[in-house]
């Protein structure tokens, strides 16, 4: 365990540095887990405000899991399991000019299937999978972020991949 430089992060500059380091991953974590209906951005900010209010009680090495837990609870408080909907951001395909209408239709269909399949994943699988595929995070990074083992991350992501392929084929 590394020695703690500070007793808490009540200092403003320390708090800002901490925010810059973790806010983004917390936001995507919330988004992948709960979708965009519950306003992950607000929850992220709220969690950090809570951290500031309780900064004396939270040691720096616990601060990260503190904001993640708080944000997660804020989400859970708001709703008991709404269906997660992730919006597929249309990838710009303007540079491709020679697309046949069939191809476009096929692409659209595939996208819809994937959307549904991702919604059907478990929260844990979805979060790990999207962090890996979308954010390009490696297993180890995800493991630290979620406070789980690398082996567990591997299992979740591989499980997600298998399930997605199966679902898409069936649909």
């Amino acid at each position: 365990m590394s020695k703690q430089l500070y007793k808490n992060i009540c200092d403003k500059s320390r708090f800002e540095a901490f925010f810059k380091k973790h806010a983004k991953s917390l936001h995507s974590f919330l988004y992948y887990k709960f979708g965009d209906r519950l306003n992950p951005e607000d929850k992220t900010q709220e969690a950090f405000i809570k951290l500031w209010e309780n900064c004396k009680k939270v040691s720096p090495d616990k601060a990260k899991s503190y904001v993640f837990t708080i944000a997660n609870n804020l989400m859970l408080n708001e709703v008991a399991h709404q269906k997660v909907v992730l919006k597929h951001q249309q990838t710009k395909t303007t540079h491709q000019t020679n697309l046949s209408p069939e191809f476009l239709m096929e692409e659209d269909e595939y996208r819809q299937k994937l959307e549904q399949a991702i919604a059907n994943l478990t929260e844990a699988q979805r979060v790990a999978f999207l962090m890996n595929r979308v954010e390009g995070k490696r297993f180890k990074e995800i493991a630290t972020l979620l406070d789980i083992s690398t082996k567990a991350v591997e299992k979740r992501i591989y499980g997600a991949l298998k399930k997605l392929r199966q679902d898409i084929d069936e649909l």
């Binding site: 800002e16 992220t44 297993f139």
Partner: protein, 299 residues
């Protein structure tokens, strides 16, 4: 190489060039790449860290950080400690007081097993917590007989004077304008008006109205009052009558007779009529009982 291992390595971006070739040769390669590419479209909406930080910081400013939060529980603890300490201090410095009423006698054992016999209407006060082997001290108002265990100095503090002993038996009588110390065993040191007097066994020291009175040496082993008899040798009648009042809880009206007359004799504590006779007969007085008042007149 195992397909699952290959896929996992690819997912973790950890493939060597040869392994990459092997991965590309997999039959599901196309499907996996397609799935992965399309998944990228589910990217979380852009999160502007700086903007969000500003929002958070302005929110924080609105709610003043309660810096003094720690103070109130601390004050509570301090208050409890203060009360506990105060109570402890109060009880340890609290004096033990034992007193007797009219016609009552009491035997008290002190923390060092010294014994005190308290005569009627008397009071001793001491602090048991401060009663150690080195300091033994108590306050006395009235009359008491002490049997002191051997040890360090034993002080009897009265308003008239201080009696200091080491281990002995003695009687102290301190009443209004009357201070008498009688030693029955060992040695007693009496400090009266900053003058010290040493008493040996049988000696007694008597002050009436601030005047020392010479006394003869006694041979008794104990004061008579312990046997329920008050005895006097050349004591003014007023003191005799006061003692009588204390032993029988009555009022004596003796306005018509001279009270500084000296009296030598005894009276019992058990029978008021016999006691009255033992006082009145030698002095040729008459007595009349009216309720709780006794009127004395010349014959």
């Amino acid at each position: 190489m195992n397909k699952e291992v290959l896929i996992l390595k690819w997912l973790d971006n950890d493939l060597s060039p040869e392994e990459l070739e092997a991965f590309k040769a997999l039959e599901d390669y196309e499907a996996i790449i397609k799935l992965s590419n399309y998944s990228k479209g589910f990217k979380a909406p852009e999160f502007n860290t700086d903007e969000a930080l500003q929002t958070v910081l302005t929110n924080i400013k609105k709610q003043p950080n309660r810096q003094t939060n720690w103070l109130s529980p601390l004050l509570k603890i301090a208050a409890i400690l203060a009360i506990c300490f105060g109570a402890y201090y109060y009880t340890t410095t609290l004096d033990t007081t034992i007193n007797t009423h009219y016609a009552e006698k009491s035997l008290i054992q002190l923390p060092d097993h010294s014994e005190v016999n308290l005569n009627a209407l008397s009071k001793i006060t001491y602090n048991p917590k401060q009663w150690t082997d080195n300091t033994r001290s108590l306050k006395l108002e009235g009359e008491a007989f002490f049997k002191v265990k051997k040890g360090s100095t034993f002080n009897v503090v009265t308003t008239s004077g201080i009696v200091t002993v080491v281990g002995t038996e003695f009687n102290v009588k301190q009443r209004q304008n009357y201070f008498e110390v009688t030693c029955y065993e060992g040695m007693v040191n009496v400090t009266f008006n900053s003058a010290e007097t040493k008493l040996k066994a049988g000696d007694s020291f008597l002050i009436i109205n601030n005047k020392p009175i010479e006394r003869l040496t006694l041979s008794a082993k104990k004061p008579d009052w312990l046997n329920n008899v008050s005895s006097f040798i050349s004591v003014p009648l007023s003191e005799v009558l006061d003692e009588f009042e204390r032993q029988y809880n009555v009022k004596i009206d003796a306005k018509t007779i001279k009270q500084d007359e000296l009296f030598s004799g005894k009276f019992t504590h058990n029978d008021i009529n016999i006691a009255l006779q033992s006082i009145t007969q030698p002095l040729q007085l008459r007595y009349k009982k009216v309720n709780k008042t006794i009127i004395l007149t010349r014959e």
